[in-house]
Amino acid sequence: MDSDLSPQDKKDLDKFIKFFALKTVQVIVQARLGEKICTRSSSSPTGSDWFNLAIKDIPEVTHEAKKALAGQLPGIGRSMCVEISLKTSEGDSMELETWCLEMNEKCDKDIKVSYTVYNRLSVLLKSLLAITRVTPAYKLSRKQGHDYVILYRIYFGEVQLNGLGEGFQTVRVGVVGTPVGTVTLSCAYRTNLAFMSNRQFERSAPIMGIIVDHFVDPPCGVQRPANVGHPCNYRAPDEDDGGLFAGVQDSQEVCTTSFSTSPPSQLYTSRLNYHPPALAGAADLSHPAANPNQVLHAGKEGGVVLVPAHPHAADAHLTAEHPPNTPGSSGDDDGMSQSGEGRSVSPSDPVESLNAFTRKIGAFVNKPTTQMTAANLDLPFAAFAPRGLDSEENDPMVQPPDSPACPSPLQASLHSQGSESSGQQDDFVMVDFRPAFSKDDLLPMDLGTFYREFQNPPQLASLSLHISSQSMADDLDSLPEKLALYEKNIDEFDAFVDMLQ
């Protein structure tokens, strides 16, 4: 297969595929940063814009991609994948989409590498730009911030789509045939976002407060503002140059900018120019990375919306997933679901803390089940039944057995608070009631006071027992007469029903 390809073409092709892979990752990750991307067109070629497209290189992303590739290229059976997932402030995470750059065996021997393949890869990158704005994760990423952030993970090897849930959709971005195989770029995205709809996104502290503790042991001596969660822990500790990544050796290689209009036989006159790491090229890299942390900030209320998905004890985890020479190895299920450590606050904690200060009695009291009375076990909602079943003192719904040490005003109010009717309404009185949208102590009658005062209105006369039973008896007596009347007028009723249909 390779015998048909000249060494120079093979070299060019490998370079094209490598930089195509790197640019693909940049496009995908930048599209999920949560902000609008804008780059300038330039009529003069700079020599550093691969595929004639202005795509910025975020150094951390390039570094991650190169780490994942580990010197290899996407090939047959070796796909490069970028996984995009969402992580909520509560620690739940969900995979949203997986972008796959694959190579299959179908070769196009006749295609011109340095011209046609290059241009088609350029078109494919443009298609990727367009498609990344179309999948559902784009809208989610634009809204990320306090409630959730979008994370990415790059892995190399076999594609894993298990985390996308059932019914995931696939969209093919495009294919480019080359003499060594066909490059395919596609995206599989989750359609079942049910997890999202069930969650109440409460206003909480910015998620970066959790993520900073969660992922990273902050490097010593590095001053970092509180809202920066981006770990950067893949940098060697002694490297504190603030910008350039030493590992980026060949990024300054200049891409093909010269093409020939000569007849096909002379097409190979254009060649890549290799320059030593030029200052200009380096400057390009370092400028956006003057503070690499800030590159990733998407300006959503200061939250870092995109961090490399490093799990706790990061490097080891990720590098263990990518041993360089094992095609079959791939990211396992991994760094994304931080089950144990993500839960910095257990679900019952807020309830516990709430119970310490207020005794919400009624349906949501937190009490041991052994103290439930027989009445409660036999009947559903038996505690709401009239007081005849249980005396108030023994009813656990009224007096929860595990009352906290601090005296609650509720104790006093339960017995003294008068309502004309039975005390069943007292079961649901809440202390320290803070109604929404109300101001405290500013008005003589605020919303909470109003609510409490008028919470126990007298019963309607028509609903009181003796009157209702009397009317029931009357109704029963008059029933035969009414039935006779209705039967007499049955034709009218039928006509009415017909009219309605």
């Binding site: 780059t39 300038r40 067109s41 070629p45 004639n52 078109v123």
Partner: protein, 218 residues
Amino acid sequence: MNCRSEVLEVTVEARQVEEAMLALLHTILLHRSTGKFHYKKEGTYSIGTVGTMDIDCDFIDFSFVRVSSEELDRVIRRAVSEFKDALGNSGSDGMGQISLEFYQKKKSRWPFSDECIPWEVWSIKVNVVNLANEQERQICREKVGEKLGEKVINVVEVINRHEYLPKMPTQSEVDNVFDTSLKDVQPYLYKITYQITDSLGTSVSTTMRRLIKDTLAL
């Protein structure tokens, strides 16, 4: 050589027409534009860089990517604006079609004028609807956004078939293939035309107009 023809159909509210057309036309032009060519000696040329920018629609739940070229954007906006006005004037339930045609010029001898040979035509059929209340408009906003997403996927699918593209021209021929009038990018030669069908469905175009984009106007 056969001209490739693709048809896209969208149903939108009147106020969404402009953004929907811009989204689709710019998506197509993104793929059909290159950087500026700079010819050097020995028949080689270099290509400039194309920048891109994200555009959020106001009336549609949708974002798209276009080429970073204000000149090109102005030209497209002008054409879309004329189309939108024509649709609006045609009646409340207008239908119309805007076409983006890529062509090559073939020089002819005098007295014959140059021939314009289309090699790809994109036709976007537009159906304008009127909605009764705000809730319907909100639903329409999202639905049209989804539909446009599907259309973008269609466009990308067609383009990535890598079917016929004009050969890269020599310096003397470049104006027969590309529109070299813009400062920063170089789309293939194109023209935008539109036709309006009035609400009675009676035929085509009492209002056929051409908006010609030639570098050499004869």
